[in-house]
């Protein structure tokens, strides 16, 4: 890979992570300001995972996500304005105001929904893989899910089905060490998630989920294999959310400020920037330019959302059925 290409790719990843970060920060601010009527679980600290994986996806690939899904939607190509407007409950939101944070839909770009229920995304991604195989397409289904989903029956059933039928599915476990306040280490005796994958008969990757290049590298390999008929893979990405479980929730008692601080030191955006600077792959100016681009984009998005109308109450029962 030429240095130019490496630089461009790295900066694209950095831009994407920053776009997610700034959008989340905007949402957190809007939440505090009373603009978001429902729940809001941010992805701050975990941006490298969605970014590294989605870098290799096309619009026709299908992503299924969780309650913590803003980052996945954004990385898959839903514009910040549609995400913010959705959380504001506006008709211009990606789900037309029907969904909010936990029900982000944008089938046009392959964002097949976030979910307020832990688990189903794993099965639905498996089903997307089944569809693509049945229809002879070289697309993949991708499930993002937390460590909290690991012990759920959906994980077991989904991974097994994908494995025995060699389906093109990527399972991405975002292990941020906690399910709300319950430690993964309490919920699971053996925390070697990648080893679990192998008991189902599929490759398992154990990754630093704060290193976007590592995630991207593994995802590229797994996705390429899936596209070419090589079956599913599991990526175990160790990462951390540095904000509370959800906006407005207390964030004490289950983890120490020291722990949070130590992970902030490993911030995926900061560390990639430092690495690129150290390797002379980019200069301060590159980052500043991106920063100001993204700021403009997110500011505009928030403004757009704020000025968007609410849905018409008369439409409340539309689209329950197809006809």
């Amino acid at each position: 890979m030429s240095e130019e290409i490496a630089k461009e790719q790295a900066l694209t990843l950095w831009r994407q992570m920053l776009m997610i970060r700034r959008t989340e920060e905007q949402l957190a601010k809007s939440y505090a300001g009373g603009m978001i009527p429902g729940a809001c679980h941010t992805y701050v600290g975990e941006e490298a995972v969605a970014t590294g994986v989605c870098a290799h996806l096309r619009h026709e690939d299908a992503v299924f996500s969780t309650h913590r899904g803003h980052g996945h939607a954004l990385a898959k190509g839903v514009p910040p304005r549609e995400v913010i407007a959705e959380l504001f409950g506006r008709v211009t939101g990606c789900s037309r105001g029907r969904g909010g944070s936990m029900h982000l839909f944008s089938p046009e770009v392959g964002m097949m929904g976030t979910s307020g229920i832990v688990g189903p995304c794993i099965l639905q991604a498996t089903g997307a893989g089944y569809s693509f195989k049945l229809l002879g397409k070289d697309n993949v289904g991708v499930a993002f899910f937390g460590d909290g989903a690991m012990n759920n029956g959906a994980f077991h059933e989904g991974l097994n089905l994908a494995a025995i039928w060699d389906l093109p599915v990527i399972f991405v476990c975002e292990d941020n060490m906690y399910a709300t306040e319950v430690p993964f280490a309490y919920a699971t005796k053996n925390q070697d998630v990648a080893a679990r994958a192998r008991t189902y008969g599929m490759p398992g990757y154990s990754l630093d989920g704060n290193d976007v290049l590592a995630v991207s590298q593994a995802a590229s390999e797994a996705i390429q294999r899936a596209r070419s008929g090589g079956g599913p893979s599991l990526l175990h990405c160790k990462t951390y959310r540095t904000r509370p479980h959800a906006e407005g929730m207390r964030d004490a008692g289950y983890r120490t400020p020291q722990e949070v601080e130590s992970w902030k030191q490993r911030d995926p955006i900061v560390t990639l920037k430092a690495k690129l600077l150290a390797q002379n792959l980019a200069e301060e100016g590159d980052f500043e330019e991106i920063e100001s681009d993204i700021k403009a984009m997110v500011d505009e998005a928030a403004e757009f959302a704020k000025n968007s109308p609410y849905p018409d109450p008369a439409t409340a029962t539309e689209h329950i059925f197809s006809v």
């Binding site: 299908a62 299924f64 789900s95 037309r96 029907r98 969904g99 029900h103 839909f105 089938p107 046009e108 097949m112 929904g113 979910s115 307020g116 229920i117 189903p120 794993i122 099965l123 639905q124 991604a125 498996t126 089903g127 997307a128 089944y130 569809s131 693509f132 195989k133 049945l134 229809l135 289904g141 029956g153 959906a154 059933e157 989904g158 097994n160 089905l161 025995i164 039928w165 539309e318 689209h319 329950i320 059925f321 197809s322 006809v323």
Partner: protein, 326 residues
């Protein structure tokens, strides 16, 4: 003359014809591949369409329903064959929170063409894990079409509609009907959802009969006809949508209504029909709408107990007489 085939054969024909027409249809279930289905629902299809379209599964009802939900969101048209419909319960979370809500949550930009089929009903000492009916629960939930054919003609015609639509459909086959034969045309046809059938015309009372109860009510009506009593029988055929208009028109004529349903009364389909008739046809009523349901209990195994928990010829006859005496 029109040929006679069984209920199961009729439904299988619908499936086979649609699978030939549309390569995005596939079937999942336990033993629906080479084996052809525990109830012969897919007999002969594996040989034609192979393992991708006739997909034998491990015993993971939640898993394959969730999987098929994802498949339906991405361009294919799954048919889930539960064998016994009881096994659907482990997938209830997927169905209620995912399958039924995807079209709505996506503002109609996703479709959900999935058919969920299986055998329902009490009989043959199948006991409490192989005899449930469940349809009132799915009528309660927004987003499902609930279809319950009671003869081969309807089975084929309604299955076609299910397979051609873009909504989640429950297709419920009562065990006692599987081997019943009836006329089914060779030509292609389909039956729209939401159209009840008037199984027998009459003037003195209306009986809405669900599923396997249709045949029992028909027999009771013959007995009564011999006494000069004229009963109108309605088979709703689909419970969601429910053709309340046909029921209301009948009640307008007869002034009396009984709903006969094998499964539980509380918050059941009978209560829904009764309250709708109350709301929309109160002035037509010469007597209160009555319900005859199976007893509100898990299904016992012993034939002696099993017979006691479902409506039968005698209790049906008695209920109609009571209604007429009101």
């Amino acid at each position: 003359m029109m040929r006679e085939i069984t209920y199961t054969t009729a439904a299988r024909e619908a499936l086979a014809e649609e699978m030939a027409r549309d390569p995005s249809i596939f079937v999942v279930g336990e033993g629906i591949g080479v084996r052809g289905g525990n109830f012969n629902t897919t007999q002969g299809l594996y040989e034609l369409y192979g393992p991708m379209r006739l997909r034998d599964t491990p015993i993971v009802e939640r898993g394959f329903v969730g999987m098929c939900t994802g498949a339906a969101m991405t361009g294919s048209r799954p048919v889930v064959d539960f064998m016994f419909f009881d096994f659907i319960l482990d997938s209830f979370g997927e169905l209620f929170n995912q399958t039924s809500k995807m079209q709505y949550m996506s503002s109609g930009r996703l479709k959900m063409p999935i058919v969920l089929r299986g055998c329902i009903g009490i009989g043959g000492s199948s006991a409490t894990h192989h005899s449930g009916s469940y349809y009132p629960i799915f009528v309660h939930i927004p987003g499902f079409r609930v279809v319950m054919p009671t003869n081969p003609y309807d089975a084929k015609g309604l299955f076609k509609t299910a397979l051609r639509g873009d909504d989640p459909v429950l297709f419920l086959e009562h065990k006692s009907l599987l081997n019943v034969k009836g006329h089914v045309p060779e030509e292609d046809y389909s039956i729209p959802f939401g159209q009840a059938a008037i199984v027998r015309e009459g003037t003195q009372a209306t009986v809405v009969a669900l599923g396997s109860m249709v045949r029992l009510v028909e027999k009771a009506s013959e007995t009564l006809a011999n006494e000069g009593i004229s009963i109108e029988i309605i088979d709703p055929r689909t419970l969601a949508p429910l053709d309340i208009d046909t029921i209301l028109q009948s009640v307008h004529k007869t002034g009396r209504l009984l709903i006969v349903d094998e499964t539980f009364a509380p918050c059941g389909v009978g209560s829904e029909i009764s309250s709708q008739v109350m709301e929309k046809g109160f002035d037509d009523l010469d007597a209160p709408v009555m319900r005859l349901n199976g007893l509100h209990t898990p299904t016992p195994y012993s034939p002696a107990l099993e017979a006691a928990v479902v409506p039968n010829a005698q209790t049906i006859l008695q209920s109609i007489r009571d209604l007429l005496a009101e």
